[in-house]
Symmetry: C2
Subunit: 220 residues, 2 copies
């Protein structure tokens, strides 16, 4: 059984590893909002407990045990997010912090019954896949909106940024999950993207376009 803190470390290492493989001390420190020295301490403990493989100065990788533990926490986090949105009418930008706490509740029965209550959802309010009770889930295929070319069409299936500010912004622009879009223009000057959505023409910054994920393969 792990502490809240250990669980948060495992989850963050898992997410960082998805991109970079080997995970660095400083990267963990930044995500955990703590100091590198503290990270080193915790890494040693996690290594001792068999959750990570660790070589001094070389960063960490999750062991099988560590990956399973991390996925279990991700599962809980995302299921609780679905609960908050579907059942308690939270908006998609309001759920993250609460889920951050709820994910640590320890009860296998609870999470399995919650899963059932929610109808075994496959993805969370941000389009991220929900692992099943065996930790399995389909790796999501997506193309970043920023990588689409003029004329390409697609559906919004996810976001790669979960800050409330960003999600609220998308909401206001009508850029929510499931919406159909088409790239109508890309501005040379600032890289901003003009898209057609629900018959309207809107302009979004490059920064926003980077964090919207779509189901288009880019070839229209």
């Amino acid at each position: 059984m792990q502490s809240f803190t250990e669980e948060n470390y495992l989850k963050i290492i898992y997410h960082l590893a998805e991109k970079t493989g080997n995970v660095q001390t400083n990267a963990i420190a930044e995500q955990m909002q703590t100091k590198p020295a503290s990270v080193t301490d915790m890494i040693k403990k996690l290594a001792e407990k068999g959750f990570v493989d660790y070589i001094k100065y070389q960063g960490v990788t999750l062991t099988e045990k560590g990956r399973n533990a991390a996925i279990e926490i991700v599962r809980k986090h995302r299921l609780w997010e679905v609960f908050l949105v579907d059942k308690l009418n939270f908006k998609w930008d309001e759920v993250h912090d609460v889920a951050e706490e709820l994910e640590h509740i320890k009860s296998t029965a609870l999470i399995e019954r919650l899963d059932e209550f929610l109808g075994f959802p496959k993805s969370d309010p941000h389009g991220d896949p929900i692992p099943d009770k065996n930790g399995r889930f389909a790796k999501t295929q997506f193309t970043k909106l920023i990588d689409l070319k003029i004329g390409d069409q697609g559906t919004i299936t996810g976001v790669s940024q979960h800050s409330s500010a960003f999600l609220k912004h998308l909401e206001k622009l009508g850029l929510t999950l499931g919406k159909q879009i088409e790239i109508s223009d890309v501005t040379d000057f600032d890289g901003s993207v003009e898209i057609l959505i629900a018959g309207k023409q809107i302009n979004i910054s490059r920064e926003v376009a980077k964090h919207i994920l779509t189901s288009s393969n880019g070839k229209n």
Copy 2:
């Protein structure tokens, strides 16, 4: 904002105070499953923070602030229990430990929306009253089953013991909330009580009868 541990202390002091007024160090230690020395340390901290009034060797009483904080935790605990039973099909003997964790999730929005989602329930699965968001709730009137006399009738409205073993036992005997009962006999030998429930005659031990609460005023 209080830590989990502080919240657990406050809740326990509140429950103990309901019966005895002034709460003793040893009593808290027993409930918290810790040592009296640790309790003294925590009491000092709670006093410092203004949650309790404390005079050395004289035990503690909750301040207004402390009582409000405690009631808020009780509210959360009981609402989560209702959720677990009503929505996730937990049995009344399975909810306590999970609620013990869920009660510490910090989000006013969460608990208010949960309350609404559950239909603003007035009592939890064990018959205990749920404080509203202002901390108000009707003080429950009840008579212990053990105090009823032969021929008295009543309805089961609560229990004063929440252990899984006890609740499972009641379940098996059919002694659940809302059931009508009548006292048909009291055994001199062991103080056990014979009751009439759903047309059947059953015998329950004195120990069990002590922890069943009824709506009868004792005069049939």
